[in-house]
């Protein structure tokens, strides 16, 4: 009897040890332990899901923010380029015309050159430069003034553009819609007629792509300030 009991004990001992080593603890746990473990796991799952939702929201926010910033950057660059071309601080190239103003017996007055520039602007010119036979080139911007040389110290036949003296023939390089600008120059009573009246000639060339690379050095505004 004792032998039987002892052998039974040894048997149960070995079985229990093996069972403990093999199975996970869950198989031996009692019901309330399992319920507690289950509710712990549920709470943990809930917390992790909330964390995932928060992180996903952050990722999408960052993504949007980055896209927004990217778009703003592209827009700002585009505006900077546009304003640079208009202000004359950047070189430009594109479709346009090369207009040669050749003087006749009398020099071409500044007013005529100004009229030509204004006509071209009206026709949609975006960047203009004027070169003289003496090799000087001046970028024409909103603040550019034209004056006749004979009125100042430069002498007759010299065109003063922003203070730089240019000798005829003048070459206007313009970037803009070529056909419109050509039409603007040749309207009756327009620039072509005005130059012809003074004995000169206007030759318009359309090379396909022109480059305006003269730079205007801005002095900065001394009087005007932005409204806001």
């Amino acid at each position: 009897m004792i032998g039987l009991l002892v052998s039974l004990l040894a048997f149960a001992f070995v079985v229990q040890v093996k069972s403990n080593a093999a199975d996970s603890q869950l198989a031996n746990a009692r019901q309330d332990d399992l319920v507690r473990i289950l509710s712990d796991l549920n709470a943990r799952e809930q917390r992790l899901r909330e964390e995932i939702a928060t992180l996903e929201a952050t990722v999408s926010q960052l993504g949007e923010g980055a896209q927004g910033r990217e778009a703003a950057l592209v827009e700002a660059r585009r505006r900077a380029d546009e304003l640079g071309i208009l202000a004359g601080t950047l070189g430009a190239r594109g479709e346009g015309l090369v207009v040669r103003l050749r003087a006749g017996a009398e020099p071409i007055p500044a007013a005529t050159v100004l009229e030509a520039v204004e006509e071209l602007r009206g026709a949609g010119a975006e960047a203009l430069q004027i070169a003289g036979a003496n090799g000087r080139v001046v970028r024409i911007v909103a603040s550019t003034y034209f004056a006749d040389g004979s009125a100042g110290s430069a002498g007759a036949g010299v065109l003063l553009v922003d203070g730089t003296g240019l000798t005829a023939p003048y070459i206007l390089t313009v970037i803009g819609p070529a056909a419109t600008m050509r039409t603007a120059l040749t309207i009756p009573g327009g620039v072509s007629d005005a130059v012809a009246r003074d004995g000169g000639t206007v030759m318009v060339d359309e090379p396909g792509e022109v480059t305006v690379d003269a730079i205007h050095v801005s002095r900065g505004l001394q009087h005007a300030r932005p409204v806001d």
Partner: protein
């Protein structure tokens, strides 16, 4: 001795047969084993004291196992299964310590 041989036989059977414990008994088996161990150590101590009695040993063995299992089962029904199980294991452990100490005193003096 028969007991030692029976012990070895039980161990070998446990290793070779590899039975799976039925699910209902699984929480009670460890408690039962510890209770039985307590009874065995008590028996060894009685033997060394010279007051060993076969019938007493058998009765104490069986009743230890049944009472321990019953207490744990009651605890599960009441909802304090974990705590009662811990309590039973502690008490059995204390008794085993006591018996082993007595055995040690016997062995190292005699």
């Amino acid at each position: 001795m028969i007991a030692v041989l029976a012990l070895i036989a039980g161990v070998v059977a446990g290793i070779l047969l590899e039975p799976t414990v039925p699910l209902a008994l699984q929480p009670y088996l460890p408690i039962a084993v510890v209770a039985a161990l307590d009874a065995v150590f008590g028996g060894i101590r009685a033997k060394l004291d010279g007051v060993f009695d076969d019938k007493q040993f058998v009765v104490s063995f069986v009743s230890n196992v049944l009472v321990a299992a019953f207490i744990v089962f009651l605890g599960d029904q009441l909802g304090v299964g974990g705590q009662l199980s811990t309590g039973v294991v502690v008490v059995l452990g204390v008794r085993i310590f006591g018996n082993v100490a007595a055995i040690r005193r016997h062995l190292f003096r005699a």
